[in-house]
């Protein structure tokens, strides 16, 4: 990352000898002492200067530590007098503040670094040219690549570069690495990281195409980006309760039209219509029962989810359960009672008789007008004999059979709304057929 670019002003905890950036003062000191031991004599004079510089550079963490340590030592001196007596639990002091300070500094560093990487990732992903030749140039435009002429070993695995082990660059920080140390980030995942609202395509890529299309990253950058993605995912992940609640809502959404349909079918039975059978309505009732069962189970699951009692969450859970129970009781279990077979028979007979009377009346009226119209049969009486002699020839009859097939299918799949539409059409067809028969007769 510390690019050896002459124009750039290097900043940070740089080793005066190898110019490596060491991130913190303590690391720099230990690095200097361990790696540049033999050079210390030569650099003795320099060390004074370094010592001064160190005082200036030293960040708060380390001064804090020093102060804290000094304070602790003072305490110890005071306590010494009591050592001869019975020992109680010694003085303890919280290191929380120190820990927090160290931690926040580190997190801050990660955050700035991650943000820098994300900005670069955004630029890389958004305007990525489709041409492979242009892509390399484009990538270098966004992130300057480290000049690799002086790098002999892979900085990660320390293996020498040669014809078979080529130098590669991390697309996010521009550092050099070998192929074995490279990690690849799928472009689709990269897009999802940059823009979480975008839909994520879930198609899995095999390693080969991933290496061809994905972004080559060093381990460090990859981990930072991956961490960010995990945070993102966990933020968007649904809790168990949420999933159960959503399932419950979707069951309720299904139940609403089912209940409406049931009411309609029930009414139709009571009215003596022949659109639905008793078994159809019973099947519908069974389905509503199943939905109610499902809603009940899910709401119980939500209520049983362990939470601290008395919290808002606990109240919410019990409220959901109550609302669900109420909904089931009021809307799903208070369904109208079905008529018995005998009742239906009764209503249908009444209806039939009414229709008969109507026909009789009509006939008499026609007779009075001097017209004999014996053929004005009721719409329910498509005579079987007629159907037999010229079946498939008449497109109307053909269509009636098609519709009957559709009705059977729709009934089997409990799509009663369609049954009603189709039944209505069948009736229309029958009427039309009847009409044709009449008009064809001389």
């Amino acid at each position: 990352m510390a690019a050896a670019n002459e124009d750039e002003i290097l900043e940070g905890f740089l080793c005066p000898i190898c110019k490596a950036d060491l991130k913190s003062a303590s690391q720099l000191t230990s690095h200097f002492e361990s790696l540049h031991q033999e050079e210390q004599d030569v650099l003795k004079s320099l060390k004074d200067i370094f010592g001064k510089a160190k005082k200036i550079i030293l960040n708060n963490d380390d001064t804090d530590l020093k102060e804290a340590f000094d304070k602790a030592l003072k305490f110890n001196y005071q306590e010494e007098a009591y050592y001869s007596q019975e020992q109680v639990v010694g003085v303890s002091r919280s290191s929380m503040d120190y820990f927090k300070a160290v931690r926040s500094a580190r997190l801050e560093r990660y955050a700035t670094e991650t943000n820098k990487l994300l900005i670069r990732l955004d630029k890389l992903v958004c305007n990525m040219p489709t041409e492979p030749n242009q892509r390399k140039q484009f990538e270098q435009q966004i992130v300057p690549w480290l000049d690799g002429s002086s790098v002999k070993l892979c900085p990660n695995c320390a293996k020498a570069f040669n014809i078979t082990r080529r130098k590669h660059h991390c697309r996010l920080c521009g550092s050099i690495l070998c192929h074995d140390c490279s990690l690849f980030l799928d472009l689709n995942i990269a897009r999802a990281i940059v823009d979480p609202s975008a839909p994520i395509s879930t198609e899995e890529q095999d390693q080969e195409s991933l290496e061809k299309n994905g972004l080559r990253l060093c381990e460090h950058c990859y981990n930072l980006v991956e961490l960010r993605k995990q945070v993102q995912d966990s933020r968007n992940a649904k809790t168990v309760v949420m999933t159960a609640y959503e399932q419950m809502r979707s069951l309720m959404e299904q139940a609403r039209p089912a209940v409406a349909m049931y009411e309609k079918m029930c009414q139709s039975l009571f009215d003596g219509e022949t659109t639905y059978n008793l078994s159809d309505v019973n099947a519908m009732r069974g389905r509503i029962g199943k939905l109610a069962e499902g809603i009940d189970l899910l709401s119980k699951q939500i209520a049983a989810h362990p939470v601290t009692p008395g919290t808002r969450q606990a109240r919410l859970h019990s409220a959901i359960r109550q609302a669900a129970a109420h909904y089931i009781k009021e809307d799903l279990l208070s369904l109208r009672k079905l008529p018995t077979e005998a009742q239906i028979e009764d209503v249908r007979r009444q209806r039939y008789e009414r229709a008969e009377r109507q026909i009789q009346l009509e006939r008499r009226r026609l007779e009075a007008e001097g017209l004999r119209a014996n053929e004005t049969a009721s719409s329910s009486g498509v005579s079987v004999a007629e159907r037999v002699h010229d079946d498939d020839d008449d497109p109307l009859l053909e269509q009636m059979n098609i519709i009957r097939g559709y009705i059977k299918e729709a009934r089997k799949e409990l799509r009663f709304e369609e049954v009603a539409i189709l039944e209505a059409n069948l009736k229309e067809l029958k009427k039309e057929y009847q009409f044709q028969k009449l008009s064809n007769k001389p």
């Binding site: 979707s250 609403r256 039209p257 349909m261 309609k264 809307d331 497109p395 269509q399 369609e418 009603a420």
Partner: protein
């Protein structure tokens, strides 16, 4: 036919997505691609060798507009001459019709014009008619010019699009355009809540729980 009974189930009166149901009929010469259009719209499929329709096929499909759910009750009629007597039964109560022709065949366009004329004479006066020039993927063999059809559609107040069931071009669009043009009032077409609003409504349950406490 579908009476709205959902009101009784929802005394809290939460706003509900309106559900409208419309009868739509497809007309046109045989082999212009009526069934293929419907199949593409309803199931997203296309069969190179679609069997010819017998009588009339029935399918349903639901589309969501901004505030309404439109449920299409689609009657896909057979184009063959012998089934023409069935067509009036299906366009009679229809709120919408798609008249289809094949852009590679001038005769089918003439037949489509006849269908439009028949609809204007016989069908409900408020029927929404769309003209679909199908097989636009075969533009190389085009025999009916786009401008000619567009001019005819403008003259007769029809919706017009060139479609391709094979590439799915404009298929959803033409159905959506029809859905948008249809009147969405309750009387608009036997509309009812029976289809059920598929959209989740926020604040539904909380409201129910507050009034029952």
């Amino acid at each position: 036919m579908a009476t709205n009974r959902t009101g009784a189930q929802r005394p809290n009166g939460a706003p509900q997505t309106k559900v409208c149901q419309f009868k739509l009929v497809l007309l046109g010469e045989s082999a212009v691609g009526k069934s293929s259009l419907v199949l593409r719209f309803v199931k997203g499929q296309f069969h190179e060798y679609q069997e010819s329709t017998i009588g009339a096929a029935f399918l349903t499909q639901t589309v969501c507009l901004d505030d309404t759910t439109v449920k299409f009750e689609i009657w896909d009629t057979a184009g063959q001459e012998r089934y023409h007597s069935l067509a009036p039964m299906y366009y009679r109560g229809a709120q919408a019709a798609i008249v289809v022709y094949d852009i590679t065949n001038q005769d089918t366009f003439g037949r489509a014009k006849n269908w439009v004329k028949e609809l204007q004479r016989q069908a409900s006066p408020s029927i929404v008619i769309a003209l679909a020039g199908n097989k636009s993927d075969l533009a190389a063999k085009r025999m009916v010019e786009f401008e000619e059809a567009q001019a005819y559609a403008d003259e007769n107040g029809l919706l017009f699009m060139e479609t391709s069931a094979k590439t799915a071009m404009n298929v959803n669009d033409i159905f959506l355009a029809i859905a948008n043009k249809l009147p969405k009032s309750e009387s608009g077409g036997g509309a009812g809540g029976a289809g059920g609003a598929r959209r989740l409504q926020d604040g539904d349950t909380p409201r129910a729980s507050t009034c029952c406490k």
